[in-house]
């Protein structure tokens, strides 16, 4: 069931995007999220879409796989699109079905918002698909380092994040196992009324919580036994390296931003 979900998954590879430093990728994606909001007409949205496609191509992740994996999120997309179509009442009427009038502005807004949404989801997915969780947290830790000055526990935050990310697949496996065990005992998650379905979640959640707490305790003990003392004076096994690719990708993004500023209304 969770086979197809790609959110938060990492696919190893050696494409241009894979080889980028996590710091540059993080800066790139965060900057991109802001830049997306510069677009406000057909040309600029077209540019965004083309740019995203280019990034997907360089990451060498199959588009089909990406779309297929993000299906659950697509529902949200369709929903926002419909809201815009139904509730925006500006411009000429494009389609008149009697009970429903679709306005030009509504269609325009719907398409633009959908593109914006799509582009954001694709870009962030590319980040997690091409960067191992460990590198992401390494990158975040380094990028947040200046905030240590204001007493933000940067190392602890990064550690929490990497532990959380590390245990997603483990908990997924665990969920799958417990689900199967309960299904073998006749529990049915996909049939019956809403109330019955909600009731069927209990045999799943209770064992899951029990095992998650147990795991957390074991992990804490294991860390203490090995003398873990937090980030003070800790050296790194994985060194981050900034090379020409990273500079290039940020330059490309800057160029893209310039184009957007130039073409927007």
């Amino acid at each position: 069931m969770m086979d197809k979900m790609i959110f938060g998954r990492y696919i190893p590879g050696d494409s241009f995007v894979h080889l980028l430093d996590p710091r540059s990728k993080l800066i790139f994606v965060f900057a991109f999220i802001v830049v997306v909001f510069l677009a406000n007409n057909a040309i600029t949205y077209g540019l965004l879409l083309a740019f995203t496609l280019l990034v997907i191509l360089t990451s060498r992740i199959r588009l089909y796989f990406l779309i297929n994996g993000l299906k659950p999120i697509m529902i949200l997309l369709v929903f926002t699109f419909l809201i815009h179509i139904l509730f925006t009442r500006e411009g000429d009427v494009v389609l008149d079905l009697g009970f429903l009038k679709v306005y030009e502005e509504g269609l325009r807004q719907g398409i633009f918002i959908s593109i914006r949404f799509l582009v954001l989801v694709f870009m962030t997915s590319i980040l997690t698909l091409t960067t191992s969780p460990i590198s992401i947290t390494d990158g975040i830790e380094v990028l947040l380092n200046p905030l240590k000055k204001v007493k933000l526990p940067v190392h602890e935050l990064a550690l929490m994040m990497s532990i959380a990310l590390r245990f997603i697949p483990t908990l997924m496996d665990e969920t799958d196992k417990i689900m199967k065990a309960q299904m073998a005992r006749g529990s049915d998650l996909s049939a019956g009324s809403l109330k019955e379905r909600l009731k069927a979640v209990v045999p799943l959640l209770v064992p899951l919580f029990v095992s998650a707490f147990k795991r957390a305790e074991d992990l804490a003990t294991a860390m203490e036994v090995r003398g873990y003392r937090g980030g003070e004076g800790r050296t790194r096994y994985r060194q981050l390296k900034w090379d020409w690719r990273d500079t290039l990708s940020l330059v490309v993004l800057a160029a893209m931003t310039a184009l957007l500023v130039f073409y927007r209304n």
Binding site: D3, M183, A184
Partner: protein
């Protein structure tokens, strides 16, 4: 209820970059009333195969026959519930599936899902708790207050309470102390004999396979490479070695005895009693021959 796998292949994450085949063209027939052991090295596909026995996994290719029902690759399988009542699976570390407030309620969970009345389910729970070797008063305790071994027994009772015709065991004694292991394995064997169950045991333990099984299937890298009676399987140490499996202790012990006696016994012995008898017989023959 016969179980038959025909040309079954299974791939995890079908159609994604993570696609990985775990089973290749497996053919396996388990006639009603058989005690079938499935042995194999880690990662040989044992655990994948067992989830096909009650429709938890659907084959990517091939067919699975469970009694009258057929589950065919690529077709929607509806109404799997009756199958799941008839085929009970005790998963590895089944204690992880406990969730209810009391042991009693947890044992009753399975049967009540299959439409058994509360009275009957409670009745079964009270019988089974003794069968798995636990005192009655444990029924009102929280399953999370029990020891690991006790939890295991409660979870097993929870599967048996469904009154299945086929019982599938995935390493049911992993992590238990030797005495607990023997008690549980003996209990399953008694049940198998008394109730005429079909039992499928997935295990690492050559000893258990030798001692209890009528037939053994060997899995290796997702293929079912060898089937036969324990005597046939364990008389061929070379083939076993090829699949990174060892002979049971008792068979290895027998070959040491044969070396000492410098003559082979007439058959491969699978239990201590059998070996002792066989050695005694051989010695007697020797004495009478002189």
């Amino acid at each position: 209820m016969d179980i038959k796998l025909q040309q079954v292949s299974y791939a995890y994450s079908m159609g994604t970059p993570f696609e990985k085949f775990a089973l290749f063209d497996v053919d396996l027939t388990i006639p009603h009333g058989t005690y079938q052991a499935i042995i194999g090295h880690t990662g040989s596909g044992k655990s994948t195969i067992l989830q096909h026995f009650n429709g938890l996994l659907k084959p990517s290719k091939g067919e699975v026959h469970i009694g009258e029902r057929v589950i065919v690759a690529g077709k929607k399988a509806k109404e799997l519930k009756p199958i799941r009542q008839k085929v009970g699976i005790v998963f590895q570390f089944p204690e992880h599936q406990l969730f209810e407030e009391t042991v009693l309620k947890d044992i009753m969970f399975g049967p009540m899902n299959f439409g058994v009345s509360e009275q009957v389910a409670e009745q079964r729970a009270r019988e089974l708790i003794q069968l798995v070797g636990l005192p009655d008063d444990i029924l009102n305790k929280s399953p999370f207050d029990l020891s690991g071994g006790q939890m295991r027994r409660v979870a097993i009772a929870g599967v048996l309470a469904m009154d299945p015709e086929v019982i599938v065991l995935d390493e049911p004694t992993a992590g238990l102390d030797p005495r607990g292991q023997k008690e549980i394995m003996d209990m399953f064997y008694t049940l198998h004999k008394e109730r005429g169950l079909t039992t499928i045991l997935v295990t690492h333990s050559m000893e258990d396979a030798a001692k209890y099984a009528d037939r053994i299937a060997i899995m290796h890298e997702g293929k079912c490479v060898l089937t036969g009676t324990p005597r046939e399987i364990f008389s061929d140490a070379k083939t076993l070695e090829k699949y990174r499996l060892e002979l049971p202790h008792i068979v290895r012990f027998q070959s040491k005895i044969e070396e000492r006696m410098s003559k082979p016994l007439s058959k491969i012995c699978l239990t201590e009693e059998e070996l002792a008898e066989e050695v005694a017989r051989s010695l007697r023959e020797e004495r009478d021959g002189q």
